[in-house]
């Protein structure tokens, strides 16, 4: 039967970069990956408990790959294996307990399989976002007739930005914008320019939290309400995003520059040949006017 309520899908992308979290565990033992995941679970439970038609998905963004923590494929295949998972011991709403157990199981297996090589120490955030978008898209195709869906992505970011993912990131951002999918960002450590742009472009909220320990509180206060409800609440104002581009030659932020019309690379100074695509350009200099020889009038 087609439900008349609007479906609300929340996809949480958690940055589980093992290097950063390992170091974090040594720096601040009171806030480790376990605590972070607990907070994420609380958030997910709260979201699912708000309305029956709310849906949840959790993706772990690792250095090697992105992995769906919930819903997982093994859950759907046969209930016999899921008996343990589905029995809730404290009378909790079954859906929530199943979700929690699954998430815990999955993250344990991911971390156990972690092997990190030296060169890939960056979180594959762009890939995780792309997976989230694909999941949302697939979900929207499986809707019943007459059901509408609203979706948003919440990114919990720990490690630093990876500049090499810029292109993919921007593609993901614009795809999300086209699909009217909000991207919210909760940043634990250092500000991320890419995520700021993502939130600004898609209309989501960007927040860098001062206290990592109170992550759950921030998540519930700021990121739990969906976009309609947010207009009724007093939430942190949007940050000013620095959209200045950096020139390709020096990687300095510039306000006015030169753009090659062939390859669109940005330079701070004019050069007759574009260094990226080797196109030759001519710029018209103002005409040099030869000074005319004036006939001096003879003094009478």
């Amino acid at each position: 039967m087609a439900s008349e309520d609007e479906l609300n899908l929340l996809v949480i992308v958690v940055d589980v970069n093992p290097i950063w979290w390992g170091q974090q565990g040594q720096r601040e033992p009171q806030f480790t990956l376990s605590k972070c995941l607990d907070a994420v679970m609380v958030m997910g439970n709260a979201h699912m408990a708000m309305t029956r038609t709310n849906k949840l998905a959790v993706i772990a963004s690792h250095c090697q790959d992105s992995h769906f923590l919930y819903p997982s494929k093994s859950w759907k295949s046969g209930d016999s294996g899921g008996d343990e998972a589905s029995s809730s011991r404290d009378g909790k709403y079954e859906l929530l307990s199943v979700a929690n157990n699954l998430i815990a199981e999955e993250i344990r297996s991911i971390m156990a399989k972690t092997e990190v090589t030296g060169n890939s120490t960056d979180t594959l955030l762009a890939g995780s976002l792309a997976k989230a978008l694909c999941y949302i898209h697939r979900f929207s195709k499986e809707l019943e007739v007459g059901q509408e869906m609203k979706s948003r992505i919440l990114v919990i970011k720990a490690a630093d930005d990876c500049a090499l993912q810029y292109m993919n990131f921007m593609n993901v951002i614009f795809a999300a914008q086209k699909q009217n999918i909000l991207i919210d960002a909760c940043v634990l450590d250092s500000d991320s320019g890419l995520l700021q742009q993502a939130c600004d472009i898609t209309g989501g909220l960007y927040l860098k939290i001062p206290q990592k320990v109170a992550l759950a509180q921030y998540l519930l206060w700021v990121f739990l309400p969906d976009s309609e409800q947010r207009s009724q609440l007093v939430l942190p104002p949007p940050a000013h995003v620095d959209y200045r581009a950096a020139c390709f030659c020096h990687r300095n932020l510039i306000e006015i520059g030169y753009v090659c019309s062939v390859c669109l690379s940005i330079f701070c100074n004019f050069s007759p040949i574009c260094t990226t695509c080797e196109t030759a350009f001519k710029i018209q200099l103002p005409q040099m006017v030869k000074p005319k020889k004036k006939k001096l009038k003879q003094a009478a």
Binding site: Q23, D38, T114, P237, T276, E278
Partner: protein
């Protein structure tokens, strides 16, 4: 005074005006009359001023021509040459008839165009009000750059109206009503008249020849409807009827259409004749006619009606496609009405091929001829990977660090069990809530409030108008440089005074107004800058000019 460059189209001697003898001159743009013996004109009217001309009826002794102007006054010329008066008068009248329509449209067109432009574009209208009505610049300067298209003969860019076709039933739509007594009332509207003229150019010609000299319009149409030309019988009466010529022309046209045939080689009209298999299986060609006379009359009237229908349809089609038609369109199937019989045999083979190809091929299924693109050839494509992002200091982690961290996290997560009851302590929660409440750490408004939230909308609107008006004036000013001609010199000085005047009359009151409203933002700084730059440039130019002169 006649300027030497005016082209004199016609000179008529011995024309009296107000009881004075003189000569009438018709020139390219005006008509003028000068008294005998003097070489200056006492009467001169531009064609665009003349509303219409009138002539004295044929029977009168005095042969006169009267010009009625738009203002209402009229001038009468009396052609007094004994022998050639009538001819002169008619010659003058013909020429005027051709020239007047040309000028009539021009005068009104400009005003119409201006009004139309002002009505369509409210921004332009506002600019006009700001600048011209308040006398900052004159109307001519305002319209100088904008009316480029009006003075050309082509009104094409503005008249994109579609041409209305002719209804095939326009003659039938006239629907005569009985008048009570034996007469019939025909209701003619302008549309019907236009349709008749477009379909039957012969009738149009007759109309222009006869009206308004010989017949009034009403008489013309009465005659038209009375004539057998209109009625279906079309039995040619005597040559009294002015339309008998038309009938003969139509016959000729029809015959030529038939001989021309259809240009499409795949269509064979001749095979559509009634064919009989045998007696009783269709129409037999040879029927023993009992009374030949009656039969022939009936047959001839039938064939006459059919001929008329065919001709009428052909004329309607031709009139509809006449204006947009390419004259040498080989593939068109509409036949021309001027009776040109082209030798269609010459064109047959390639035409057939074209038609067959059209039937076989589908445009959609052809290979797409996409425009050829040039591949992007990058030498340093790794620049695209990081994009326009500034260089950020990366934290350096030693491999030992990495290994340690990974081990650490693995250990931790191996025994991970969610303990959701101990996620948050109340102190941390309250401090987070405090930070998120209004006035908290995270709730500081970042950056300034944008200006458009602080300034009321009507002030914004006024500022916008000021900018548009100032922009227009500055455009005029800056377009004068480099100052080459004396005209530009004048214009530059005039524009500078205009700018100063604008600043006095419009900008200062606005500034005072926003000061009164305690708006501390500097809204007019940029405008002032622009004006100062213009004044500076003018000053430099003036000093240079002074130096050159000394």
């Amino acid at each position: 005074m006649a300027s030497l460059s005016e082209e004199v189209l016609l000179v008529v001697k011995k024309v009296r005006q107000r009881k004075q003898d003189g000569t009438l001159y018709l020139m390219a743009e005006r008509i003028a009359w000068g008294p005998e013996g003097k070489d200056r004109f006492t009467v001169s009217h531009l064609y665009s001023d003349i509303r219409c001309q009138k002539i004295s009826p044929d029977g009168k002794a005095k042969i006169q021509l009267q010009l009625v102007l738009h203002t209402g006054e009229s001038t009468t010329f009396h052609f007094a040459n004994e022998s050639t008066a009538l001819k002169d008068r008619d010659a003058a009248k013909e020429l005027l008839q051709q020239l007047l329509p040309k000028f009539k449209k021009k005068a009104n067109k400009e005003l119409e165009e201006k009004n139309r432009m002002l009505q369509e574009d409210p921004v332009l209208f506002q600019l006009y009000k700001d600048l011209v009505v308040s006398q900052v610049i004159s109307a001519e300067e305002f319209w100088a750059n904008r009316l480029g298209g009006v003075n050309n003969a082509e009104p094409a860019p503005y008249n994109n109206k579609q041409e209305v076709g002719i209804s095939g039933a326009f003659l039938a739509d006239i629907r005569p009503q009985t008048d009570g007594c034996n007469g019939l009332r025909y209701n003619l509207t302008a549309d019907i008249i236009e349709s008749i003229f477009r379909t039957y150019p012969a009738v149009k010609q007759k109309y222009s020849e006869n009206v308004p000299h010989n017949l009034t319009e009403k008489e013309f149409w009465t005659r038209f409807f009375q004539s057998h030309y209109f009625h279906r019988d079309r039995i040619n009466t005597g040559s009294q009827d002015i339309f008998s010529e038309c009938a003969k022309q139509d016959e000729k046209g029809l015959k030529s259409l038939v001989t021309q045939g259809v240009k499409n080689p795949l269509v064979d009209l001749l095979s559509l004749e009634d064919k009989t298999l045998d007696e009783g299986y269709g129409i037999s060609k040879t029927l023993p006619s009992t009374s030949n006379a009656i039969k022939s009359v009936k047959e001839s009237s039938n064939s006459a009606i059919i001929k008329r229908f065919n001709h009428h349809s052909a004329m309607v089609l031709a009139a509809g496609s006449r204006k947009g038609d390419v004259p040498n369109d080989q593939a068109s199937e509409t036949s021309s009405t001027d009776g040109n019989s082209r030798d269609s045999d010459l064109f047959q083979p390639p035409l057939k091929k074209v038609k067959l190809q059209e039937a076989i091929e589908y445009e959609d299924l052809q290979r797409e001829n996409a425009p050829k693109t040039v591949a992007l050839n990058l030498k340093k494509s790794d620049r695209y990977a990081h994009g326009p992002i500034p260089l950020q200091s990366q934290q350096y982690t030693t491999s030992q660090d990495i290994i340690n961290s990974v081990n650490c996290i693995r250990q931790e997560m191996a025994n991970y069990k969610p303990s959701l009851t101990r996620v948050l302590s109340s102190t941390t929660a309250t401090s987070a809530v405090a930070a998120l409440s209004p006035g908290g750490v995270l709730m500081q408004p970042v950056g300034q409030q944008s200006i458009n939230q602080m300034v009321p909308t009507d002030i914004q609107g006024e500022l916008k108008h000021l900018y548009i008006a100032a922009g227009e004036l500055l455009r005029h000013f800056w377009s004068c440089f480099p100052v080459n001609t004396p005209f530009l010199e004048e214009k530059v000085t005039k524009m500078k005074t205009n700018l100063e005047r604008f600043q006095m009359t419009k900008l200062r009151p606005f500034q005072e107004k926003i000061q009164r409203q305690y708006l501390s933002t500097n809204l007019t700084g940029h405008l002032e800058d622009m004006f100062q730059t213009a004044y500076g440039k003018f000053h430099i130019w003036q000093t240079r000019r002074m130096m050159r002169k000394t």
